[in-house]
């Protein structure tokens, strides 16, 4: 579904942010990406929906070659949902309007269809009673659940999450993770940048550890957490698991 092959990216001439990335994500697979700050995790998943261009290697997403000239990014983005650390809800639209905007204007759904679908999704993420609230009237956890519903309403094939719980107070993290867990169990293809190792243990098929722009280690959660082979992975794990 997603295939990185020898992908390299630079910011400017000097900053080599992604180094020879090789990574395959199969349909229905859940891959958790972790690593220290600045290691290139965000940049990696932002490449997947074309928010960041890359300079070398190839990246194929849902059969679309992102390195090709004149690639139809818009068509691809309809199939790839993205959830941001800062939610990025539209502040001048209600929760329901946030969720139905793209289905109406991009997918071409009628307003009734979109509203029906949007209401069902908002109910699914536990916000049946907050549909007509504006983002500023919702807590962080609620806003992030709206953001997830907004992506899901496009019925994407792939969901990308960039530290979806990092901006949340501890007591709200679970409500967002619960939504993501159920999504994973339904068979959604997901790439999740997160330091929530509990989530990784529970639903990830694979955990990828990045450092300084390269993938250092990757494996099934059991072996990744049980006996990491690299010092840098052990180092990192000891930091995120004991605080």
């Amino acid at each position: 579904m997603i295939r990185f092959q020898g992908l390299n990216k630079w910011f400017g001439n000097a900053l080599h942010v992604l180094k020879d990335i090789d990574l395959d994500v199969a349909k229905g697979e859940v891959v958790v990406v972790c690593g220290p700050s600045g290691s290139g995790k965000s940049t990696l998943i932002r490449c997947v929906n074309g928010l960041e261009p890359f300079q070398k290697g190839s990246l194929t997403v849902d059969g679309v070659d992102l390195g090709a000239k004149g690639v139809a990014l818009r068509d691809l983005r309809m199939e790839v949902g993205f959830v941001f650390q800062q939610f990025n809800l539209y502040p001048h639209k209600t929760a329901l309007e946030n969720v139905t905007l793209a289905p109406i204007h991009v997918r071409g759904l009628s307003k009734t269809e979109a509203v029906e679908r949007g209401e069902a999704l908002l109910a699914k993420v536990g916000l049946a009673d907050r549909m007509n609230n504006y983002p500023s009237q919702l807590s962080g956890g609620q806003q992030q659940r709206v953001a997830i519903a907004r992506s899901l309403c496009m019925q994407p094939k792939i969901m990308l999450f960039d530290e979806p719980t990092s901006a949340l107070d501890p007591e709200m993290i679970t409500e967002v993770l619960d939504v993501m867990v159920s999504l994973a169990k339904e068979g959604m293809t997901m790439m999740v940048v997160t330091h929530e190792m509990g989530f990784a243990r529970k639903v990830a098929h694979r955990v990828v550890f990045m450092d300084q722009g390269a993938i250092v280690e990757s494996g099934e959660p059991a072996s990744f957490f049980g006996n990491p082979t690299h010092d840098r992975t052990r180092d990192f794990l000891s930091k995120v698991l004991h605080h």
């Binding site: 983005r77 949902g81 990025n88 809800l89 539209y90 793209a102 991009v106 009237q137």
Partner: protein, 222 residues
Amino acid sequence: MLGNLNIRVIFEYFPALWQGFLNTLMMSGLGFAGAMILGIIACALTIQPLRWLRAPAVAYVDVIRATPLLAQLYFLYFGLPRLGILLPEILIGIVALALNSGAYVAEIIRSGILAVPRGQFEASMSSGLTYLQRMRFIILPQAIRPTVSPLIGQAIVLVKDSSLLSLISVVELARVGQQIALDRFMPVEGLAATAAGFLIIYYMLKALAALWSRFNRLPGQA
């Protein structure tokens, strides 16, 4: 001094004052409408990536902001006829006001767009909206909100600036005031009448601004 203001003269000149008031309103209204159109176009050109479209818009904004309105006005007044374009003074005045304020309007709108957080562009891009849809549904509604007050401020400046048109013998509020001063040797009466007219327009615009912010408050905001 105001105690022995000669009110009778002001009444006597009331029809002329009223005509000046209407002319000032009309020229300012048309001038500002033109400024909005020019400003939106210039702004759209400055924020798009093609250089050959951007350069003339940037030059326009820079030249206007760097030079005095009076110079621009005379430039058009003496320059246009040389190009064979003969327009009535009042039209030249309106064009000058529109050209002048248009540059400031462009900057005001641009600052509104730049103030929209990056995340809004990224979120709307990620959901597959086209450039125009992003602008229309997500960016502009958020960009316009904070620009309304400065735009009304610019309108107030434009109304006052329109008094410069008296220099190319357009009959507007200030010009009528000067007439009272010159015909009757009553400069204070003339100036007071002119000031009153401008004050009325100012309060009209101020009321408009208050109305707008009253009805366009974001929910959840005080």
